[in-house]
């Protein structure tokens, strides 16, 4: 059954911030919630978690209205926060206890996830002495240490270095394997693209695109060509009637209107004995789709 969000609306005064949103997450995995700043993502998340009340519509988890007693959820808010002057171990234990865990279980889980996220050596320290990245990892532990069924991650990778991003990704993969339902909101399209099978794009509170990411992408024709050569081929590209989107050190990204244009260019390169290191005809990325969809509605 999973999570069902049906015709949900929310107004702040006269301003409509969420306009008739509907989606369903019926299997474990990552659901991508995308949108520009102020699109209504955080408000939607807060309504799902019961922090804000919806004006109308229905939000259910396994057929029951979403409430703390019905769903064991975890939340990593966009606004990062920890108690700055309280020992990390003590605050993690406090939040685990509030989530209904017994002391022994909480301790076990706390140690497990702290080690996974490489913050176990900081447990007896106060967060004010840690870097922002480590504070963020501590907060991530608070979101998952009670083994939530539904996990909401609002911008989980922002501010993390590549090493810690990788660490977090591995934890997310582990959670997916455990059967966790995850809603991920992010501006970093590549991370959504990496994890999410289904997405919903919001703009000004309205749904502008939703569905299975693979199916969405299939609806789009190839629109870019990625090309790497051993020499400058600007003239050949112009001869083929194509425009360069971006180029650097003989690495080109070329705009395509159809796949045939790409093959035509490949023939020309062969005739001119150009050594081609990379030739890839690409479907639009989620980034491109997002820009297109949000742009249409601006």
């Amino acid at each position: 059954m999973g999570l069902i969000v049906k015709n949900v609306n929310k107004n702040f005064g006269a301003k409509k911030v969420v306009d008739d949103i509907s989606f369903q997450i019926d299997k474990p995995g990552v659901y991508g919630l995308l949108g520009t700043n102020g699109a209504g993502k955080t408000t939607t998340i807060r309504m799902i978690l019961g922090i804000l009340k919806k004006d109308s519509g229905e939000i259910t988890w396994n057929g029951k209205e979403v409430q703390r007693k019905h769903v064991n959820f975890g939340y990593l808010p966009e606004e990062r926060g920890v108690y700055p002057k309280t020992k990390i171990h003590d605050q993690l234990m406090y939040l685990a206890r509030l989530k209904g865990m017994e002391k022994e279980k909480a301790e076990e889980s706390l140690q497990y996830w702290a080690k996974k996220l490489e913050v176990d050596q900081y447990l007896q320290m106060t967060p004010e002495k840690l870097s922002k990245g480590n504070q963020q990892k501590v907060q991530f532990v608070t979101a998952i240490l009670h083994n939530p069924e539904l996990l909401v991650l609002d911008e989980p990778f922002s501010g993390l270095d590549p090493v810690n991003t990788e660490l977090l990704k591995n934890v997310i993969i582990e959670l997916i394997k455990k059967g966790t339902y995850i809603i991920m909101s992010s501006h970093q399209m590549y991370s959504i693209e990496e994890f999410a099978s289904d997405i919903l794009i919001l703009n000004r509170g309205k749904t502008v695109l939703q569905g299975n990411l693979k199916e969405i992408k299939e609806q789009y024709a190839a629109n870019k060509l990625s090309l790497s050569t051993n020499e400058n081929v600007d003239e050949i590209i112009q001869k083929a009637g194509l425009t360069i989107y971006h180029s650097k050190d003989n690495d080109y990204t070329i705009n395509l209107s159809n796949e045939e244009d790409g093959y035509r260019l490949f023939d020309l390169l062969s005739k001119n004995h150009v050594k081609v290191d990379k030739f890839e005809i690409m479907k639009p990325s989620l980034h491109d789709i997002f820009i297109e969809k949000v742009g249409e509605n601006e």
């Binding site: 807060r46 978690l49 019961g50 922090i51 804000l52 009340k53 703390r68 959820f73 939340y75 808010p77 606004e79 990062r80 926060g81 920890v82 108690y83 700055p84 002057k85 309280t86 003590d90 406090y94 939040l95 206890r97 509030l98 989530k99 907060q139 608070t142 979101a143």
Partner: protein
């Protein structure tokens, strides 16, 4: 309910782990211990160099060259004045007196002279900055010695002499039926202790909530438990800390009073018999009720700010209410039978500071007591309802400080189901 105790217990432990809390309380205890030991410290300074603890007696010179007192001044040395009087009947110049005072031979001097019927008594001291005249005790003593001397010349019988010293008994009575007992010093002291303990404990609630809001952990917290649980749990946790704090301060003060003060000193200042178990119980009850009222008000103001620097401004109105409540109770206590004092003992923002003392003075009627507690309980319910509703809506507001208009809107907001 379980969450409530988890929040309360966490808040309680967190308070005790704060260095500032521990240090400030240690300073208070140290001040109390030093304060009660001041008599011992002063007496230690008065000891002789060789370590002899017996205090030296100051010498006072009396110069009576005309023998105006006809040798009767020796009686001064039989009185328990703490001085040794050196009586000389030769002329002593002002310069010589000055020299003897400066050298420390004498502390001060009294020079007696008579011109016709006029007797002049000069009191010569080293520094008269802190004096506003010749001490009355000194005037009375010399007048009495001279009067006794003159009376003895009249050859009166013992009965006649006795009749000149009437044995008056002065007694104070009132027309009001209720009798007011109580020592103003005790009332003032306890009133101030009660006010500060209630006020500062309640203030901690505001600080604690603002810390959670400014550190942005609030969003994680409200997904873990209900806002109502957070507010009430904090109020309970800090309240218990406050009670322990006051209990420790009072206990240390009592122990110091018993073991550090010279015998009988405390009883001479305070009527200890007025501090009864009943008064203790009611003081604790009013502490809890008063603290809860102010703590919930501070929970409201604490949730309306996003920056630590705004806390004081936001708490201003509550501080004004508390100070008005305190002074209303404090000043009307001088006239405890006035209608205004009765009002102060029932008005919820002043009754915690006022009613314990009406009980102590024995003028609180059972009806007033019940009314006062009921009014406080109703106030707590109303304040809790308003505070929790506004808190639930204001905690996720990270923008500018919440205005009164916003608070009214938040109170009416139907999002209160999350509280």
């Amino acid at each position: 309910m379980k969450d409530l105790w988890i929040v309360a217990s966490y808040t309680f432990k967190d308070m005790f782990k704060k260095k500032t809390f521990l240090i400030s309380n240690l300073i208070i205890l140290l001040i109390i211990i030093i304060g009660f030991n001041i008599p011992n410290i002063l007496s230690a300074f008065n000891t002789d160099e060789g370590g002899d603890t017996e205090a030296t007696t100051s010498k006072e010179l009396i110069v009576d060259p005309q023998n105006v007192f006809e040798g009767n001044l020796e009686t001064l040395n039989t009185m328990d004045t703490g001085y040794e009087f050196v009586i000389e009947n030769e002329e002593v110049s002002f310069e010589e007196i000055k020299e003897r005072i400066t050298s420390g031979e004498i502390e001060d001097a009294i020079v007696i002279s008579k011109e016709g019927e006029q007797i002049k008594i000069q009191y010569i001291v080293e520094d008269m900055t802190m004096m506003d005249g010749v001490p009355e005790s000194l005037q009375d003593t010399f007048t009495e010695i001279y009067r006794t001397m003159q009376l003895s010349k009249l050859n009166l019988s013992q009965e006649e002499l006795a009749s000149l010293n009437p044995n008056f008994t002065f007694e104070l009575q009132q027309t009001e039926e209720q009798e007011v007992r109580g020592n103003v010093l005790v009332i003032m002291l306890l009133s101030i202790v009660l006010f500060y303990s209630i006020y500062f404990c309640a203030y901690q609630v505001s600080t604690s909530i603002t810390t959670e809001k400014t550190s942005k952990i609030m969003e994680t917290l409200v997904t873990s438990t209900k806002p109502r649980t957070i507010v009430l749990g904090k109020t309970i946790g800090i309240g218990v800390v406050g009670l322990i704090q006051v209990a420790v301060i009072v206990a240390v003060a009592l122990i110091c009073a018993k073991f550090c003060l010279p015998e009988g000193m405390l009883e001479s200042v305070l009527d200890v018999s007025q501090i009864t178990p009943t008064l203790g119980i009611f003081t604790v009850v009013y502490f809890i009720l008063g603290y809860t009222t102010y703590a919930l008000l501070y929970a409201l103001t604490g949730s309306t700010v996003s920056k630590p620097e705004d806390v004081q401004t936001a708490n201003g109105p509550v501080a004004i209410v508390a100070v008005i409540g305190f002074y209303l109770s404090y000043f009307t206590m001088m006239n405890p039978n006035s209608d205004l004092n009765v009002f102060a003992s029932i008005f919820p923002f002043s009754s915690p500071f006022c009613m314990p003392f009406r009980i102590m003075m024995g003028i609180a009627t059972p009806m007033q007591l019940v009314l006062s507690i009921v009014v406080l309980l109703v106030t707590i319910l109303i304040v809790a309802n308003v505070s929790i509703k506004i808190y639930s809506n204001a905690i996720l507001n990270y923008g500018s400080r919440v205005s009164l208009k916003d608070m009214i809107r938040m109170y009416r907001n139907k999002d209160d189901n999350n509280s």
